[in-house]
């Protein structure tokens, strides 16, 4: 007699809604060939909004579902909110990009929704098996999305590179999971923590931990596992690059934190040392390499590597202060980077056109509002008050100082001073320089205006009134410890 499994659909409803949305897109897209993209975008937006609504009960929960495989807690709630914001803004910024040359690539939205659903399973997972399957769902969708543009060889190259390197990193992650299973006899996070607390495992546990760390570092693009980032970010469709730099990174960091604090907490002394080195390497290399880029997508790619470094500082700082600072930072970064990539998508439009820094010359004269929005995003990336990016960096560095990592913070502040240079170079080009020839007029769609508006208002609002969001982040990480 097989017992009836416990099924609790309420807890995973947000992800289910996204899956259903993806199915509707796939079925309906094949029946309406003319305006498939517009229709799919609307369906995706509705799915994201509904998921947002059904996600809210999670905030009050603190329990486990599906025989302990999924944890429904405020942490899952906060991460889901982040991912849904990222997915929603990406849908808005993608519409124009996909319809530009008459190809109705409505499958884009289905894959985007499946990827987001995979991430949501991943961030609420309480078991490495669920984490891995969520990770693969998101990775496979994103590999395809990166290589989606049929007419662009660079996009194909990006897809293939990401697939091969991503496959390696998944295998390494799985190998680490196998070692931990060997130590603990279970893949459930609390069970692993319980075994490690007794001091069992020794070197085996350390090897497992190291391999998991490599797998996660690849996904968040931390140096020295960042090699794929510039090429893939450059080749992928621009709105998707924004999504990768925000949502994939947020999901990977969310799981990184959950696994390393909830399951590998007893080894914190060991992994903090490794992460300290990774944080320094990532911040320094990301910011220095960004200085010499002429292509804005590559520049933002290196900038996103650097931001992964700041987030790792939050992990090193550890415990509630560090992790809640990370969540706030991720929220700020979501609005900022999606906005910045939205502007890049708008200016660059299809393919490889207008992605050099010089193409931004004189933008302030032709489109003052757009230039202002881009400046806000760049200021926030650089960490200039009163934007959200400043508060994010401030809270992370504050947590690290309090935890006693003075040197790490000094390096972090110095590298972010370096970063001001390359962000301001774009601002200077927009406001101070004159283009050689008059650029073609930009085509603003309503969806793009809405997306950039949301992003710009978000950056300013959570930067000027950060208290509510900082409190939410603090409240969300409480259940982890």
């Amino acid at each position: 007699m097989i017992p009836i499994p416990e099924v609790d659909l309420g807890g995973i409803l947000p992800a289910l809604v996204l899956c259903v949305g993806g199915l509707i897109v796939m079925v309906a897209g094949s029946f309406i060939p003319k305006r498939a993209v517009a229709f799919s975008a609307i369906v995706s937006l509705v799915a994201v909004l509904v998921a947002f609504a059904v996600n809210s009960p999670l905030r009050m929960m603190n329990r486990q579902a599906f025989s302990g495989l999924i944890s429904l807690d405020p942490y899952s709630w906060f991460c889901n909110v982040l991912l849904l914001i990222a997915a929603g803004i990406t849908v808005l910024t993608s519409v124009r990009y996909l319809t530009d040359d008459g190809q109705e690539l409505y499958e884009y939205f289905a894959l985007l929704l499946f990827a987001t659903a995979g991430m949501m399973f991943m961030v609420s997972a309480n078991h490495i098996l669920v984490i891995f399957i969520g990770l693969e769902t998101l990775s496979i969708s994103v590999y395809v999305l990166a290589g989606l543009m049929p007419t662009s060889p660079k996009s194909r190259e990006a897809g293939l590179k990401y697939l091969i390197l991503g496959g390696f990193s998944s295998a390494i992650f799985l190998y680490g999971a196998a070692f931990l299973y060997g130590v603990a006899g279970s893949l459930s996070l609390p069970a692993i923590a319980k075994v490690l607390q007794t001091g069992a495992g020794g070197k085996t546990a350390l090897v497992g931990m190291g391999l998991l760390l490599v797998g996660f570092s690849f996904k968040v693009a931390a140096v020295p596992f960042h090699m794929w980032t510039p090429d893939v970010y450059e080749g992928a469709p621009t709105p998707l690059t924004g999504y990768m730099s925000v949502a994939v990174k947020a999901a990977a960091f969310a799981v990184f934190v959950r696994v390393f604090f909830a399951a590998l907490g007893p080894l914190q002394v060991d992994w903090t040392q490794i992460l300290w080195v990774l944080a320094v390497l990532t911040m320094v290399l990301g910011n220095v390499a960004a200085l010499v880029q002429n292509n804005i997508k590559r520049m933002l790619a290196y900038s996103s590597i650097a931001h992964a470094g700041y987030l790792i500082v939050g992990m090193v700082a550890g415990k509630e202060a560090g992790t809640s600072a990370m969540l706030y930072y991720l929220l700020a970064y979501t609005f900022t980077n999606l906005g910045a990539f939205g502007v890049v998508a708008l200016v660059g439009r299809k393919g490889e056109a207008n992605v050099m820094l010089d193409d931004y010359r004189g933008l302030a004269a032709s489109n003052p509002v757009l230039a202002l929005a881009m400046s806000i995003f760049l200021f926030s990336l650089a960490g200039i008050p009163p934007t959200a990016g400043f508060m994010g960096k401030f809270t992370i560095f504050y947590a690290a100082v309090k935890a006693g990592y003075i040197w790490l913070v000094i390096i972090g502040v110095l590298t972010s001073a370096v970063s001001v240079f390359y962000y301001f170079r774009v601002v200077m080009k927009m406001y101070m320089e004159v283009p050689e020839k008059t650029p073609a007029a930009l085509q603003f769609g309503p969806a793009m205006i809405l997306a950039l508006g949301i992003a710009a208002v978000g950056v300013m609002y959570i930067g000027i009134f950060p208290t509510t969001y900082l409190d939410l982040a603090t409240e969300s990480v409480k259940t982890l410890f």
Binding site: I2, P3, P5, V7, I12, C19, M26, F66, S67, L69, I70, Q103, L105, E107, A110, L111, F114, A115, A117, G118, F121, H127, L129, V130, I133, G134, E136, T137, I140, S141, Y143, V144, G147, L148, P150, T151, G159, F179, G182, G185, G202, K203, T204, L206, V207, G208
Partner: protein
């Protein structure tokens, strides 16, 4: 007796794996890859993991490697003989890296050797229920959710592969 079988299978797996790397004709590489997979399946059997052994045979030795063979024969790669690798540096880097990983992993692997730890991770040979039945039961009760998420994963993969090769343009 058990040791003899173990070492024989281990030798088959390892030698075939080396030949996969060092032979210079694609068709030979693929064929020895299949032998490696079969050797591994045998090793799983000696651990009483008959389900994993069968999956190894059906999925890897069967489905995956047959696809490789199709690619090799359809592209007429079977007639190609790759020239010997001219870069000796690359050879040494590869060998050094492999040895480094082995040294790194080995201390951890020693912990799993019989006698090193009292806890045995192999299945109980006297168990009355086959582990195929146990896996099936677990899959549809405890691990129902990941099983279902895997369907989303496969759907995304199918859509992705169709989209990437679709010729509409």
């Amino acid at each position: 007796m058990k040791e003899v079988i173990f070492y024989a299978l281990g030798a088959i797996t390892l030698v075939s794996a080396f030949l996969v790397i060092f032979l210079r004709r694609p068709i030979h590489n693929v064929l020895f890859m299949i032998t490696t997979m079969i050797g591994l399946a045998g090793l799983f059997l000696t651990l009483q993991a008959e389900f994993v052994a069968m999956v190894q045979l059906i999925v890897y030795a069967g489905a995956v490697m047959v696809l490789f063979l199709f690619v090799v024969t359809l592209l007429n790669l079977d007639e190609i003989q790759l020239p010997p690798d001219s870069s000796t540096i690359r050879w040494w880097v590869g060998a050094g890296f492999a040895i480094a990983v082995a040294i790194l992993i080995f201390p951890a692997l020693v912990a799993f050797l019989p006698g090193a730890e009292p806890k045995s991770l192999t299945a109980d040979p006297t168990a009355t229920v086959s582990n195929t039945a146990i896996i099936a039961k677990e899959l549809f009760t405890t691990y129902l959710l990941p099983f279902e998420i895997a369907s989303v994963l496969l759907l995304a993969a199918i859509i992705g592969s169709v989209v990437l090769v679709k010729k509409k343009y």
